[in-house]
Symmetry: C2
């Protein structure tokens, strides 16, 4: 039956030393049982986890599948510094890629799934230059991998909303064309009108009953002000649980007291936060956010594109990056990063993943002595399972 | 003849797009010629670079081969925060490892060579608890890999010099037993007497005519003061070119004017600096240091030991880490990190590597479109060559 599977010989997290290997039975796309030496029901496929660590599948909670050049000839980075330069550089170059947006997004989504992520929230740029072309490419990639991953798409105004006439209309057209959420971008710092920008974003969200996911690079008090504006709109529209602030650099660039206020505000409005574990910007206060009950997800951001040469589709590598960047050495803290990269991101997408009976059978098996060792080794994934079906093995999709 | 080799089909850095594949002839352990379609002299071995990027071999300029547990069962991190806790934790646990220091150091050095490093400077802890046991283990690893890599060993007072009676004598015994350099550790912040500590270090260096390599985690004005003390001693003893400050967090934790002064002081005394690309501490001012002519090397620090779960022996991965942590996107800056990880570290060790005729035939071939792409991909090394001899291929030593 669809979604039935027996996975032999894995060590579910927390894989305590000396704990016996168990088998995992999946039925109808959900985990039905964990036990040693399970007998497979008739006709149920059996796969071997080879003693690997069993985790919930990864979630890439912040991707840009439309911009990737992964798998194509490498191009030297050609942008100046600063967001405006990066935006302009992408606009100058994206049409000259050797493959279509759909082909590029499909390839990178395949690599992401092969790395163990079966939930992905991808932004798709919507602007007057590219119209809906990038969105359509990401939707095509989603369709191609429909049986392998659950993908949400954000209609993302990468070039602002108010700076170029017609963008708001394109965002609405994107929602009609299949985008799931409304995006936003630095309402003050880039689009220069925080209220005007957010009124469009939340206006579309209300009209079409969609969630929102706002890129907020603005830091310090200006960023904090915009977090407040977002909270006000979430409250007014009853959108608790439906909004995400991506990057949220404001949280790590205000003083301790203000940070506590912002964390409480996010928790009170059930607004999620995503990070991409940046190399230079100060890390988010992960422990404080989680302690307050804020959903925190991890994403890959753009992958080898006109914005940046970094990224490879591997969310376990990104979990390593999050741990490294936070200086975490203790196993419980490294495991917290894995939790953010798996269950945390899924919660950002409104999904519940886990390793208990009844959990969705979205699972990944990775070689390693322990969860922390698996993060440090970053070995190719032994198995990736989505809805009880093997979708990747030995680092390649099937 | 020893050190003769023909490497077919590589693209030497800078591998400009469209540049033809060339062959590299090594004679007597040095690069003799670069040209397309070279005819191998009689009896010279021929290996295939398969179109990969040719770089100078990597240098791990700051290793701790004595503490590694790479390849052994993973142990959860058991230390508290802070240097004293980490030191105490290691002392409690190191003797219970499943393999000897020599075995562990040999394994990790093999992984380091397989990753493309043929020059390594390793610290070896010398203290009243372990005596010379750790040093002897590292010396044994060096001997085991003598034909594969050039290894320098630092007699390293990991537990301070003045805090435990007998350490200075042990350091001197270490030099007699085969250590190449005298180490030091936070003369003020940890050992509590900067002048007393450095007098021992430089006293031994003068007496035995050795170089010094001082771990300096102390930051801010206290760290800056100790950089000055080191410079004074280098000048007094005429040890220009013979001293290294490792970590050197002081450089990134003082104001801009003071930073400039320190960089100039280091340049004036030809004192080298090494970094391990830490995840949390502020990166060193790499461009300023190099512009001033300061030799800068990159190292792996401890690898999966009682200090930290991070590290894997792969200096290309570490070069990625250095680039990522500095937010470098431009190819010239990523390539600067590769230069630090190859030629830079070799210069710290007093060696000149390069890709010109006459350079030592210490080379690595790595798959990738360009140097930056190779850093991002971090694929297993196709070939590693030391003194004109293949010492690793396809990610494994030979």
């Amino acid at each position: 039956m669809t979604g039935d599977l027996l996975i032999r010989s894995v060590r579910p997290w927390p894989n305590l030393p000396g704990a016996p290997l168990v088998d995992v039975l999946c039925e109808g796309g959900h985990v039905a049982a964990f036990a040693p030496d399970l007998d497979p029901p008739p006709a149920v496929p059996v796969v071997d986890g080879r003693g690997g660590v069993l985790l919930p599948a990864f979630t890439d909670a912040h991707a840009h599948l439309d911009s990737t050049r992964l798998g194509l000839p490498f191009r030297p980075h050609s942008a100046g510094a600063g967001l405006a330069d990066l935006i302009e550089n992408d606009r100058r170059n994206w049409r000259s890629a050797e493959a279509s947006v759909a082909q590029r997004a499909t390839y990178t989504l395949a690599r992401t799934i092969a790395g163990g992520a079966t939930h992905v929230r991808s932004h798709a740029q919507v602007d007057v230059d590219s119209g809906l072309e990038k969105l359509e490419g990401v939707l095509a990639a989603r369709e191609e991998h429909r049986g392998r991953a659950h993908v949400e798409v954000v209609a993302f105004p990468q070039c602002g909303i108010l700076r170029e006439k017609g963008t708001a209309e394109l965002l609405e057209a994107a929602l009609r064309a299949g985008a799931d959420l409304v995006g936003g971008l630095d309402p003050a710092g880039y689009d220069r009108d925080p209220v005007g920008h957010l009124d469009v974003v939340f206006g579309l969200a209300e009209k079409h009953q969609r969630g929102v996911d706002v890129h907020l690079h603005d830091g310090g008090t200006l960023g904090a002000f915009q977090v407040e504006l977002i909270c006000e709109r979430v409250r007014a529209l009853g959108m608790q649980g439906q909004a995400t602030v991506s990057h949220a650099f404001a949280l790590s660039t205000v003083d301790g007291e203000r940070q506590r206020e912002l964390v409480e505000l996010l928790a009170e409005h059930d607004i999620a936060v995503t990070t991409v574990a940046p190399g230079v910007r100060e890390p988010l206060p992960l422990r404080e956010l989680r302690r307050a009950g804020v959903r925190v997800g991890l994403g890959q951001d753009g992958i080898r594109d006109y914005w940046s040469p970094y990224g490879n589709g591997d969310m376990l590598d990104r979990a390593w990056q999050l741990a490294y960047r936070n200086g975490f050495r203790r196993d419980d803290l490294v495991e917290m990063c894995v939790d953010i990269a798996t269950r945390g991101g899924a919660a950002v997408m409104g999904r519940t993943l886990g390793l208990t009976e009844g959990s969705p059978a979205d699972l990944v098996v990775v070689p390693g002595d322990t969860v922390t060792a698996a993060v440090m080794d970053r070995a190719p994934r032994t198995l990736v399972v989505h809805a009880g079906r093997v979708v990747a093995a030995e680092g390649e999709i099937v």
